[in-house]
């Protein structure tokens, strides 16, 4: 199988080639491929989309439609630390809205945005399965439970230094 060599001077890196090769011919593999691209690069670039489209034979418009449908996929890079505040029911009843507000205030960004230094991005998510520890948040893969204002401040401080 001959690979797309990239057009207009765009370079396709080896990691992307590997991902795509894995899902060639897999029924419905595009979403799995997008997961891997998202996890590898932190977002799904236009070039990745074009490459996936060509190699997995899915029209560009549909790939874009898929990416914009699922909230895990993003079109722009996320911050180094992606803060996900759970606003699921269990957490909401335990004051998740206040946790979210605290993060917004302290990071001075809205949901879905990234701080200027590229360090933090903030997202509201619906349940991470740690309802027993409500209100819960996730920073990258790390789950934190029973979060209050104080803990928010501590966490921001801790990660700012990392």
């Amino acid at each position: 199988m001959k690979h797309c060599e990239g057009c207009n001077g765009c370079k396709i890196d080896d990691k992307l080639v590997k991902i795509v090769d894995k899902y060639r011919g897999v029924d419905g593999g595009i979403i799995s491929a997008l997961h891997e691209v998202q996890d590898t690069y932190g977002y799904i670039s236009n070039i990745s989309q074009k490459y996936l489209s060509k190699e997995l034979n899915v029209p560009m418009s549909e790939i874009y439609g898929i990416i914009t449908f699922y909230s895990r996929f993003s079109l722009t890079p996320k911050g180094k630390y992606n803060v996900q505040v759970c606003i699921g029911t269990a957490c909401y009843v335990k004051g998740a809205d206040k946790v979210l507000a605290r993060f917004k205030e302290k990071l001075a960004i809205e949901e879905g945005k990234t701080t200027e230094d590229g360090k933090f991005s903030l997202e509201a998510v619906r349940c991470i399965g740690a309802c027993g520890l409500a209100p819960a948040i996730v920073i990258n893969e790390e789950v934190y439970g029973k979060v209050d204002d104080k803990k928010v401040d501590e966490l921001i401080e801790k990660y700012s230094k990392m």
Binding site: Y70, S71, C91, K94, R126, G129, C131, G132
Partner: protein
């Protein structure tokens, strides 16, 4: 794999799991409170003490996550709560010397409880779906086998397909993922469907925010799901299974992968299982953050690599499902019950629960309740028993107001129905729903209009946008609710909500839209006066809706100590220390309530 080999593993590991074992929860909750470090510390300590015959094992969730990390010493079943990494040494010493570490025990009414099953939280439970959670190391297939694992598959493969389906049918089990459709019937349709390629799918998307039983099962007992899927595959004539699991559950995903690998290695999945002409493989597919993908047809579209938009039914998945082929889809908890049912028989299962809702149900108890966690109880248990006996009641001396059941599709159960036995039918009679078993308790500080709005925000966010009533209608309902909570409600708004609600329910394409108005309808049914207070009196009786709430200092009680002013995040409070009574500037106040909790003289209230 043949039965002798299976039994050999069983015998060998039954002995091993009877040895002294330190079982440490490594579910999502406990891992987040550092149980992983705890395990390492215990390991180190064990090595340094050179204690033989004592091991530390990772387990899945015990269900009592709020008290995590949890450690249980087997075979004595000593239960330690809120264990810290530093406690490792004492725990190991205790196991060696045979002494219990008292400070880690749970205290109930001044009494220290030693054993797992003696805790109030556990003693009313009956564990079938969760039976292995906490008892085995989920990353060792042999431990699952030691507790009768894969015996049901063996038995099923030596029973006719129709008989297998009859057992499931006669057990009376109904789907645990939502609507409660009889599982046996579904299997039967799938078996009868024409086609030589069929699929078995497992719905592990667990979308209801506040429910986490499926995660728990996958983390603590993944093989039970694999075994059940293989049994289903045999019964309906499928050779390929898919598990659609949320990407938000990395631990569950990892354990499933390990389990599939181990089962395949032992020949319990793959070609010619138990030497029979039956082959079955399982593949994982990850969700990508869309609640609607829990809906069966949307889930199939998502596996097929499309936007997760539901499809019209008919054709039903049993006839034309995944990749256009006959497909059986069940929920994780449904599957987790199956091996037990096959082994112990339908009449055993039949006796548990109520007539039309047999067996047990796992609830995720959350919200304003003392014992937050997963509880598995026989169908027909009352809400009061769950909330007060198992859940330990409402914290901070507050009163029970309602329980939200069935998540965003469900409704709330007010105080007057606390004694209703919980089963599929009585819940839907009172306007709630079993759903996947989310049970969020709310105390009297909660505003029901705000709660309804919260759920609608969820559905508006999660609507796929395919069909008109749900795409636009839920948004319009949310707009009306928002204006009510902002004090801009108008006469006629309630009627508008009701008309929209009933038309959205009737016209929407999938379950999401068809049930989206339920939280509004159910709060309107039981708490209509709260809506009216918002609209006509411009008051939020619970003091939750900020625009309708004022935080006020009672000048008679104020001792001019200034503490409130120091703590106010927006500098909304003025006064002079010891001289002028403090007063809140309402334009600046964001109703955060900090001052209320800080005032030593209880002079501030909403």
């Amino acid at each position: 794999m043949d039965i002798d080999k299976l039994n050999k593993i069983k015998v060998e590991y039954s002995r091993i799991i009877q040895e002294k074992r330190i079982m440490v929860c490594s579910g999502t909750g406990c891992t987040s409170s550092k149980s992983d470090v705890l395990i390492k510390n215990i390991q180190k300590k064990l090595e340094s003490t050179k204690s033989k015959n004592i091991s530390v094992q990772k387990t899945g969730c015990f269900g009592f996550c709020a008290k995590g990390p949890i450690v249980v010493i087997d075979p004595d079943e000593t239960f330690y709560e809120l264990v810290k990494p530093e406690d490792a040494s004492d725990i190991v010493d205790g196991v060696i010397t045979g002494k219990v570490v008292e400070r880690l025990l749970t205290k109930e009414k001044d009494k220290l409880i030693e054993k797992w099953h003696e805790l109030n939280f556990y003693n009313k439970q009956e564990r079938i779906a969760l039976k292995n959670c906490g008892k085995i190391n989920p990353e060792k297939i042999e431990e699952y086998i030691a507790l009768d694992g894969y015996q049901a598959l063996y038995k099923a493969l030596h029973t006719s397909r129709d008989e297998v389906i009859d057992i499931v049918l006669n057990s009376g089990i109904r789907g645990r993922g939502g609507a409660g459709f009889p599982t046996g019937k579904k299997w039967k349709f799938a078996k009868e469907a024409q086609g030589n390629i069929k699929y078995v799918c497992c719905n592990a998307d667990e979308g209801d925010p506040g429910a986490f039983m499926d995660r728990s099962i996958l983390e603590g007992d993944p093989h039970s799901v694999l075994e059940a899927m293989a049994i289903a595959g045999y019964a309906i004539g499928a050779t390929q299974g898919y598990i659609y699991v949320r990407a938000e559950y990395p631990i569950a995903v990892k354990r499933l992968n390990v389990a599939i690998e181990q089962a395949t290695k032992l020949g319990l999945l793959g070609k010619n299982i138990f030497g029979k002409k039956f082959s079955f493989n399982i593949e994982l597919r990850l969700g990508a953050g869309a609640f609607v993908c829990g809906e069966e047809t949307a889930l199939m579209n998502s596996i097929e690599g499309k936007r997760g938009e539901p499809r019209p039914r008919p054709p039903f998945p049993a006839i034309k499902g995944l990749f256009g082929k006959p497909t059986l889809l069940n929920n994780v908890e449904t599957y987790a019950n199956i091996p037990n049912i096959i082994l112990k028989g339908s009449s055993w299962y039949n006796t548990i629960g109520t007539k039309n809702s047999t067996g047990t149900k796992v609830f995720a108890l959350g919200g304003n309740i003392n014992n937050v966690g997963l509880v598995e109880v026989p169908m027909g248990t009352t809400l009061r028993e769950i909330v007060y006996d198992i859940g330990g009641g409402i914290p901070e001396g507050k009163k029970f107001k309602a329980a939200q059941m069935g998540g965003p599709s469900g409704g709330c159960v007010p105080t007057k129905y606390l004694d209703t036995p919980i089963d599929y039918d009585s819940l839907s009679e009172i306007g709630a729903m079993m759903g996947s078993g989310g049970l969020i308790v709310m105390d009297d500080s909660k505003c029901m209009v705000d709660i309804a709005k919260f759920f609608l925000e969820f559905t508006v966010d999660e609507s796929c946008g395919k069909c008109t009533p749900c795409r636009i209608g839920t948004k319009r309902m949310l707009e009306i609710l928002t204006r009510i909570t902002e004090g801009k409600g108008k006469d006629g708004d309630i009627e508008k909500l009701e008309r929209l609600a009933s038309n959205i329910k009737g016209a929407s394409l999938c379950g999401l839209g068809q049930t989206a108005p339920n939280p509004v309808l159910s709060t309107l049914r039981y708490f209509r006066e709260e809506y009216e207070a918002h609209i006509y009196d411009k008051k939020c009786p619970s003091g939750v809706c900020k625009a309708l709430t004022q935080v006020l200092i009672n000048p008679e009680k104020c001792k001019k100590c200034g503490i409130c002013a120091k703590n106010c995040p927006t500098n909304a409070i003025d006064g002079e220390l010891g001289k002028v009574t403090y007063k809140i500037n309402q334009d600046k106040c964001i109703k955060c309530g900090v001052c209320i909790t800080k005032c030593p003289f209880k002079a501030i209230s909403k």
